[in-house]
Symmetry: C2
Subunit: 165 residues, 2 copies
C-alpha cells in the first residue's frame, strides 16, 4: 500500500516521501481547484448574458445529444443528485427550453426533450461555448495540450464510480 513512485523525475517537484512542508504551488488538489475555479469563472461570465450556469449547460447539452433519456439517467451521468435535479429541470421547463414527458411503458419516469425554442437556444449556446472553450485551449497552448490535460485528468478519474448516490 506504499506509494512506489517511478524514479528519476525529481527535476522540479517537491519531495514525495520526506516530512517537508508542502508548497501550495506543487499540490495537485490545490492547483486543480484554482484552475477549475478560473475556468468556471470564465464560463459564468461568458454565459451571463444567456443566463446559463454550468450545470444547466451540461443538462441542455446532454438532452440535445441524447433526447428521451430519463431524469435519473441524466442526473446520474452528470453527478447531480436526483433531488437537486428537480429544481434545475423546473427552471429549464419554466423558460420553455425543455420538457418532461411521461414514460409510456413506465409511467413513473419522465423522459426529457428539448422544445423547438430549446433547440434554437442550444445552437446559440454551442456557439457561445466554443468562444469560451477556445479561450481556454489558447491558454493551454493549443488543442494538443488540451488533449493531454484531459488524458491526465482521466487518469485521476479512472475506475472511479460517478459520485452519485
Amino acid at each position: 500500500m506504499t506509494a512506489d513512485i517511478k524514479p528519476g523525475s525529481r527535476r522540479r517537484g517537491t519531495s514525495e516521501t520526506s516530512a517537508e512542508l508542502p508548497d501550495k504551488e506543487s499540490i495537485i488538489g490545490y492547483k486543480l481547484r484554482r484552475a477549475q475555479l478560473l475556468v468556471f469563472q470564465d464560463f459564468i461570465q461568458t454565459f451571463a448574458k444567456m443566463k446559463v450556469r454550468p450545470a444547466e449547460f451540461s443538462v441542455l447539452a446532454m438532452i440535445a445529444r441524447t433526447p428521451g433519456l430519463k431524469q435519473t439517467e441524466i442526473a446520474e451521468a452528470l453527478g447531480i443528485k436526483r433531488a437537486n435535479f428537480v429544481a434545475l429541470m423546473d427552471g429549464l421547463e419554466t423558460r420553455g427550453l425543455a420538457d418532461r414527458r411521461k414514460g409510456d411503458i413506465d409511467r413513473r419516469s419522465h423522459s426529457l426533450h428539448l422544445t423547438p425554442e430549446g433547440e434554437r437556444f442550444v445552437r446559440k449556446m454551442i456557439a457561445t461555448w466554443n468562444e469560451h472553450e477556445n479561450r481556454m485551449i489558447e491558454r493551454l497552448g493549443g488543442a494538443q495540450d488540451r488533449d493531454h490535460l484531459i488524458e491526465l485528468l482521466d487518469r485521476l478519474l479512472a475506475g472511479e464510480p460517478s459520485p452519485d448516490e
Copy 2:
C-alpha cells in the same frame, strides 16, 4: 480575438469551430471539476480522522512555512475572503493549534503562529498528506506526470490575479 488554435492536433479532441454538440468527456471545465472533486474526496477521507479540511490544511501549512504573516496576507494568498477566514481561524485557535498575536507596530493586525501542539499536529498532518498525495501521483503515472499536470494547470492560471476581493 478569434481563437487561432495551433493546427495539426485533431487526433482525438472534438471540434473547435463547428456547431457540434460538446461531449462532456472532452470539455475542460467539466473534467477539471470532476477530477478536483475526486482529489478533494480522497483528501477529506484521508483526513477524516484528523478532522482537517482542505482549507484548514492549507492555512496550517502556510503558517508553518511562514510564521508571523498577517491574517489578511494568508487569506489573500489562499483565495479566502477575510470575512470567511475568521471562523476558520477561530476553529484552529479553539483547537489549540494556532494563535493570533497583536501586531507591535500596527495593532489592528494579527500575526499568525503555530502553538507547540500545532507544530506537532502539522508534522503528523504532513505525513498523512504524503500518503494522500502519493496516491494521486500514482494514479497520474508518476511524479513526472504530476509535474506535467501542474504545468498545464499553471498555464490556465497564468496572469490571473488571485480570486479575492
